[in-house]
């Protein structure tokens, strides 16, 4: 049974980015292998964004193909989880599996016989960024409740200050400043884990 979420936090239970007591992947995998349905749901919730992003951003699948690929990935995860040698390495394993699903679909696309396909050129760089993005979401999970919610709602769920304020019972006029302060906290958390985030060398896109 999942713990009740404190008031004001998202009830979108499909997304477990917000659990402060983060269960390690290896423990989730072990519980999944014992047919623990809650562990499976947690694993799906934890990696759904990552798989979705790989399929849609790295491989640029259309909505319909992306949905099929997404389900195919988790079906293969479910079927092959027992073959994972190092449960600590679940993330690279699911990434590799997702790449394989996407390439298989590309090789079959519109053909009676599968053809050899070359991986699209943007994939490698996209995967590197998505890996970093996942690290950032992991760090997000360790921030205090409102910061997690505010940053996730604004930057990934496309919600406005008014929507966020209404949901979290905060004045809409304070959201912008809260976002800035929470970004600093997240940056500090990341720097605490892995040293200073680049302030030079990373280029803005505009």
């Amino acid at each position: 049974m999942r713990p009740r979420r404190p008031r004001g936090l998202s009830t979108q239970a499909a997304d477990s980015c917000f659990d402060q007591d983060v269960t390690q992947d290896s423990e989730l995998v072990a519980r999944c292998l014992k047919d623990d349905p809650a562990a499976w749901e947690e694993l799906v919730a934890r990696y759904s964004r990552y798989v979705y992003a790989i399929v849609v951003q790295a491989y640029r699948f259309s909505d319909h193909d992306a949905e099929d690929a997404f389900q195919d990935v988790f079906l293969r995860v479910y079927d092959r989880l027992g073959s994972l040698r190092d449960p600590e390495a679940f993330r690279p394993w699911i990434a590799q599996l997702t790449r394989r699903v996407c390439l298989d679909r590309l090789s079959h696309a519109g053909r009676e016989e599968p053809a050899e396909v070359v991986e699209p050129p943007q994939v490698e760089a996209a995967l590197d960024e998505l890996d970093e993005a996942f690290d950032i979401h992991e760090a997000l999970a360790t921030l205090p409740g409102n910061c997690r919610e505010i940053l996730d709602r604004f930057f990934t769920r496309d919600e406005s200050y008014r929507t966020i304020g209404d949901a979290l019972e905060l004045p809409a006029g304070t959201i912008a400043s809260r976002i800035s302060r929470c970004l600093v906290k997240l940056r500090d958390e990341l720097e605490g884990r892995s040293g200073p985030i680049l302030e030079s060398g990373g280029q803005r896109e505009r």
């Binding site: 047919d35 799906v44 759904s48 950032i136 720097e191 985030i197 680049l198 302030e199």
Partner: protein, 83 residues
């Protein structure tokens, strides 16, 4: 223009929006759906008429039994019934 730490963090946060809720829900249901599939196959092996109905029109037969056919599992069911 160089990118600050906060800008980089924000840019990377944006790279992982939530997957559509329906997709996540369907994936979370896989263990239950797989168990259903195993039950259907077992019944098809024991009940000739049921097996025939499944082979004649799989989706219709499943819906008649109250199942909601998920495409990938239907595909797998088709494969298992063919053996």
């Amino acid at each position: 223009m160089t990118e600050s730490g906060e800008e980089r963090v924000a840019r990377l946060l944006r790279r992982l929006p939530p997957a559509p809720e329906a997709w996540v829900a369907a994936a979370a249901e896989l263990p239950r759906a797989r168990k259903q599939l195993d039950d259907i196959v077992a019944r098809a092996e024991a009940d000739v008429a049921f097996r025939a109905a499944l082979i004649a029109d799989l989706e219709t037969a499943l819906e008649a039994e109250g199942y909601e056919p998920q495409p990938l599992l239907v595909e797998e069911l088709r494969r298992r019934l063919a053996h």
